[in-house]
Each structure stands twice: as C-alpha cells, then as structure tokens.
C-alpha cells in the first residue's frame, strides 16, 4: 500500500493560506465582528419585554395564534431562566450567519440553475460542506480567525449555506418550462425572466431553503461554542464540562424554543407564498 499523508498536505496548505492571505482574513474578521456585534448590541439594547411582545406579535400575525402564544411563553421562559443575554448572543450569531449564507448562497444557487457547468462544479463542493463533520471546519477556522465569535460564524456559514444554494437552484429549475418560454417569447431579457418570472415562482422553494439554513445555523451554535462563540452553546458546553445537568438542559431548552419560533415563522412565510 502507498502511504499517503493527505493530512500533511492539508496542513501545509492551511499554513500557506494563513501566511499569505492574512489581510483577507483580517478583513473578513472585521466585517463579521461588526455584523455580530451590531446585531447583539441591538438585541440587548432593546428591553427584553419589548422583544418578547414584538416577536410574539409577528409570530401570531404570520404563523397563527398557536405559534404566537408559544413564542410569548417560550421567550418569557428563556428570560426567567436567566439566559436572555446568551439567547440574544446566539440569535445575533444565527442572524448574521444566515444573512451571509444567503447573500452568498442565493446568487450561487441562481448561477447553478442556469449553467450545467456551474452545477457540476458546485455540487461536489456542497456535498463536501454538508457531509464533512462540522467539528472539522472548526480547526482551520481557528487557524485563520483565532478563537471567538468570528470562526464560529465562519463555520456556521459554511455548514448552513448548502440548502440555500440547492433549494434556490431547485426552485428555479422547477419553474414550469412553458412559463419561462412564454416570457422569452414576449421578448424578455434574461434579467427580466429572472426577476419577473423565475424568482417569484421559485420563492416558496427558496423560502424553504432559508428555513433550512436558519435551522442548520442554530444547530451549529453549540459546536461553535467550543471555539468560544459564546451564547447558549456555551451554557450547554458548561453544563457538559462541569457536569451540571440542570444548566445543560436549561441551555438546551432555550435553543429548542428559539428553533421552534424561527422554524414556524419562516415555514409559514413559505407556505403563505405557496398559496397565492
């Protein structure tokens, strides 16, 4: 058997990247820090009760009374467990990661839907991103961005982006061929076809992708805590490392509550769009 030390090559490559692309990583780091801090500061600046009422109101309006009531009770519970600040830190991380994942993922999805070559290139990368155990990203992320929220966010973006790409592409491809032909037959430019026909008709599927991205981002939070991303993940991690069962469960509950609220709201958005 040939003895191949792929690990050595990857290490060498990572070292090379760190050595040569430092300014780029600094830039990414600065942007990411700004984003997360801005969201976190904003969420913590607003009094908890206002957020609880506003979120419950939105949930009620979009997803119905049940979800509204659940949000009210759930968020109140998070606050009374004393995990409000951690919850908001997690939320800030999820929101900023999702935002970045969508800003990258949706255009890539559009590109993939229009070109067979792009599809061939991107598909294996997405497979890699989704199947590689999430922990593994953490290592280079730490190399590039050291410890803290930024590597947490970078790992989260990578982990959460594939559904945004895949479902955007799927949504566009699923648009009835005749409808696209019709748009072309009236002399629409490619841009007009995209914005007036393909994207509006793909929207329900794209929203399902956004929902998945948010859920994956949230599930990455506990793992990101291992490299110091903070938030509820850290609470869970503390429970684990210090064997404080109660604390661990409290953190876990808070994550579940956030997850359900985010999921129900975004899902309702998608299906409301489907109906029209």
């Amino acid at each position: 058997m040939i003895d191949l030390n792929i690990g050595d090559y990857i290490e060498a490559f990572i070292d090379w990247l760190t050595a040569n692309f430092d300014p780029l990583f600094d830039l990414i780091s600065a942007v990411a820090t700004f984003l997360i801090d801005a969201f976190e500061a904003g969420l913590l600046f607003i009094p908890a009760w206002i957020i609880i009422i506003v979120v419950s109101g939105i949930a009620w309006w979009i997803a119905g009374r049940g979800v509204g009531i659940f949000s009210l009770v759930g968020l109140f519970l998070v606050d009374s467990m004393g995990l409000w600040a951690e919850g908001m830190a997690t939320l800030a991380l999820v929101i900023s990661s999702t935002l970045v994942a969508l800003i990258i993922g949706i255009p890539v999805g559009i590109w993939v839907s229009r070109s067979a070559l792009a599809d061939k290139i991107v598909r294996p990368i997405l497979d890699f991103m989704q199947t590689m155990p999430a922990f593994v990203y953490l290592i280079p992320a730490v190399f590039f961005f050291s410890l803290g929220k930024v590597p947490g966010m970078v790992a989260t973006v990578i982990f959460a982006m594939p559904p945004a790409v895949r479902l955007t592409s799927l949504g566009i491809r699923q648009v009835q061929k005749e409808v696209v032909e019709a748009a072309h037959s009236f002399g629409a430019t490619p841009k007009q076809v995209l914005f007036k026909v393909q994207l509006p008709l793909a929207l329900p599927t794209i929203l399902a992708g956004i929902n998945q991205t948010i859920m994956l981002a949230l599930s990455m939070v506990v793992i990101a805590a291992m490299i110091g991303a903070g938030g509820l993940g850290q609470t869970v991690l503390k429970g684990l490392t210090q064997l404080k069962t109660g604390l661990g469960f409290e953190g876990g509950f808070a994550i579940v509550i956030l997850a359900i609220i985010l999921d129900r709201i975004t899902q309702a958005l998608g299906s409301a769009n489907n109906k029209s």
């Binding site: 005749e178 409808v179 032909e181 019709a182 037959s185 009236f186 002399g187 007036k196 509006p200 029209s276």
Partner: protein
C-alpha cells in the same frame, strides 16, 4: 409575397448536429441519421409561406416536429439550418437585439398549458408583454383591460389566474398574446389541453376573433378536425417533413400520399367538402327568352338529360325546365318562349356550402341544386346523386334512385333544415 417565408428549415437535436446536417443533405433518412450520429432530425427540409391575415395550421402527430417548427419561428429554439423571413428580416439569422424587438412587436405566442404567471392577476398577466417593453403601468393596464374585453373576460381582470377554469386561462393566454398588438400569432396546441366542449367553443371564438383582429395565425395541432375547422391552409407534417400543404378541401379530396390519406379517411367529409367541389362547372342551359322551347328540347334530347338550367342573357339564374313540361308546351303549339314552364322555385346554394347542408335541399326536390354567386349568377349545378354519393362515401357519379329513405345515415347527428329551402314544390 408571403408575409412569413420559411425556406429549407432544418432542426437537429443531439450531440453532433453539423455531422447529422451533412447526412441530411445527402438525403439520408431520419433513422439512418439517428443510427450514425445519435442525432434526431426534428425538422427535415421544411419550406412554406404564410400570407398576411391567413390562418395557417401545421398538423401532425406527436413527434412530427410541428411544435419545433413553431419554436423556430420565434427562435425559442435555433434552427440548425435554413431561413425564416418575416417580411424582409431573416429571423433565423437575427442577432439577439433584433430578435427581442421582433418578439416584442411582431409576433407573440399562445401556449398549450397557458404558460401564465400564477402569482399575478389576469390583468397583470395580459399586460406582461407591454411590461417587458417598459410601458408605463397606467398605459399598459388600459390596453390590457381593452384586450381582456376583446376575449370575453370582462370583469375577471383582478382575479388571480389560478382561480380560473382552463378555457378562461387560455383566454388570458390569448389576450396576453394580443395585447402587444403583434402581426403574427403563434399558437402551440393552444386548445389541446381543454376538454372537448370548451375546445369547440374556443375554436368558434377564435374564428370570430380573427374576423375582428385579422392577424396572421400559425396554429399547431394534432387534431385534424381542428385543423380543418380553423385552417385557411393546412400543412401536414410527418417525421419532421412537410408532407402536404393545401386548403382543407384539397387535403381531403386530393391527399398527397397514403399517410395523409389514412389520416383523413375517418374525417366527416360532408362538413368540409363544399358545393363548389361537387358541381358541374358548365351545365347545359338555355337562355331565356332568346332561346325557346325547341332549343331546350333538342338540347336535352341530345345530352340525354331530363332538365335544363334557364338563365337570362347576363347569366342570371332563372330556374329549371323539365323535359315533360317542354314537350307538353310544344304540343300546344302556341307560345314558344320558356316563361310559362320555368320552375323558378327551386333550391339554390352558394359555392362554399358544405355538403351536409345540401342534403336537406336534395331531399325536398327532385331537381338538381343550382349553385349561384352573390349576384345570382349561375356557377354550376350539383346533381342530387353527387350529394348522396358524397355523404354515403360512394364514388360520385353513380346514379342513385330518386327515393332516398336511408341516405341520411352518414350525416346522422347533423342538424338538418337550417338551410332555408325556397319553394320545395315537387312535381
């Protein structure tokens, strides 16, 4: 000159169209080309012209290439070879800018499954073509509402298209195509997805609409009855090639080959064949009052016929004379003009009356039917036997007994008697 001319059009799908094209030029068959190159010859040397204001139907079974032809006309698909002239622009070679403006201004398309935008209201769908052209919203809505009215959807403008039935959705599709005021309407199996009753209804409305808007229509269908009903001319396609182009009547009476013949054999010919096909062009006649009874009798005896048309000097149809009456009149030996014995209360018809409508005329009189034009000039006569032979599917020219009790069989479900029979007195 034809408004739209298609010349030597080829479309080849597959990995190596150029090589397949070469084989096609050498006259190789569709199967051979598929065998050698893995390419499908979807259109094989199609040429035709469409006149302004004409409804040109392209008919064929699925896989015959008819929809491909249509999609080449507005370049939704690029032809592999050949030219498509719209007036003096070669659509097949047009750059994308020219093509876009052609699609915006000159031709629009109606789709089999409508191709509507489900997230928009009817009016926004109809206005789509103008929206693409960046017309201001107020202007395009005004035009859209106008067009919606034209297709009979008044009052539905603000509904979502998903709330409408299939027939109504296709009206929206038609309105959308008309809204940009194109010269040419491309209709791709436009009524095939509708159920039969609605389909017939839509066909009638298209005919009415065409009278109002006078567009050039290219209509694709797999339904021969639809083709015969709508088409001024029909092109029949098989395996990517056009087998025959002609008027509905030409297709039925003179099929170009066995394929077309097998296609048309089950058609109810009596709806399509008209009086002009059956009539004798230059019937024996006498000119009254210049020619008298003696001339009439001699002419009938000479030809061995029992009745004769009577016209005046300007070929205006006056009626028929029967030999018995003529002989009686001659024996009286009084007056020699034909006037007293001309049977003027006989059946007349126009040349484009379908055979099925001639049948009641035949049943009510034992005289031939005179075919006259708008100014009452005699064009010819239709013998009773020809009508009956046509309807029963026999070769025409076979004498048929005068009493026809069972001859209505082939035209069974047709409403009879909608043709007014003037003076059906028998004697």
């Amino acid at each position: 000159m034809a408004q739209l001319r298609v010349e030597k059009l080829y479309k080849i799908f597959g990995p190596n169209p150029q090589r397949a094209m070469k084989l096609a030029n050498e006259g190789k068959s569709k199967e051979e080309i598929l065998d050698k190159t893995g390419c499908t010859l979807a259109i094989n040397d199609a040429s035709f012209g469409v006149e302004k204001g004409e409804t040109f139907v392209v008919m064929g079974l699925s896989g015959s290439g008819k929809s491909t032809v249509l999609r080449c006309l507005n370049r939704l698909w690029d032809p592999t070879s050949g030219d498509i002239y719209l007036e003096d622009v070669n659509v097949a070679k047009a750059d994308s800018e020219t093509l876009r403006s052609l699609r915006r201004k000159k031709m629009s398309m109606v789709f089999q499954h409508f191709g509507l935008l489900p997230h928009r209201t009817v009016v926004d769908n109809v206005a789509f073509g103008l929206e693409i052209q960046n017309e201001p919203p107020a202007k395009r809505k005004e035009k859209a509402y106008e067009t919606i009215k034209l297709v009979g959807l008044e009052g539905y403008g603000d509904m979502m298209t998903g709330e409408l039935s299939g027939g109504m959705q296709q009206r929206v599709g038609l309105a959308r195509a008309l809204c940009t005021d194109p010269e040419i309407l491309l209709m791709d199996e436009a009524f095939s997805a509708l159920d039969p009753l609605i389909r017939t209804n839509m066909q009638d409305e298209l005919i009415d609409l065409q009278e109002k808007v006078q567009k050039t229509i290219i209509f694709i269908t797999h339904d021969l009855d639809e083709a015969l009903k709508l088409g001024d001319r029909i092109a029949i396609m098989k395996d990517g090639a056009i087998v025959q182009i002609g008027t509905p009547e030409e297709i039925l009476t003179d099929p170009a080959d066995d394929y077309v013949a097998s296609f048309v054999q089950n058609v109810d010919r009596s709806k399509v064949i008209t009086a002009s096909t059956l009539m004798f062009d230059h019937p024996q006649r006498v000119v009254s009052p210049r020619e008298g009874v003696k001339v009439a009798i001699r002419r009938m005896r000479k030809m061995g016929i029992s009745s004769l048309c009577v016209t005046d000097g300007k070929k205006q149809f006056k009626g028929f004379v029967h030999i018995d009456d003529a002989v009686k009149l001659e024996k009286k030996n009084e007056d020699h003009t034909l006037e007293p014995i001309v049977q003027s209360e006989v059946s007349t018809t126009s040349p484009d009356t379908p055979v099925v409508d001639l049948l009641p005329l035949v049943m009510s009189s034992n005289m031939p039917i005179a075919v006259i034009d708008d100014s009452h000039r005699l064009l010819g006569i239709v013998m009773r036997s020809s009508v009956i032979a046509e309807i029963t599917g026999e070769e025409s020219g076979i004498p048929v007994p005068a009493q026809e009790g069972e001859t209505g069989a082939a035209g069974e479900d047709r409403k009879s008697g909608d043709q007014t029979v003037e003076g059906s007195t028998n004697d």
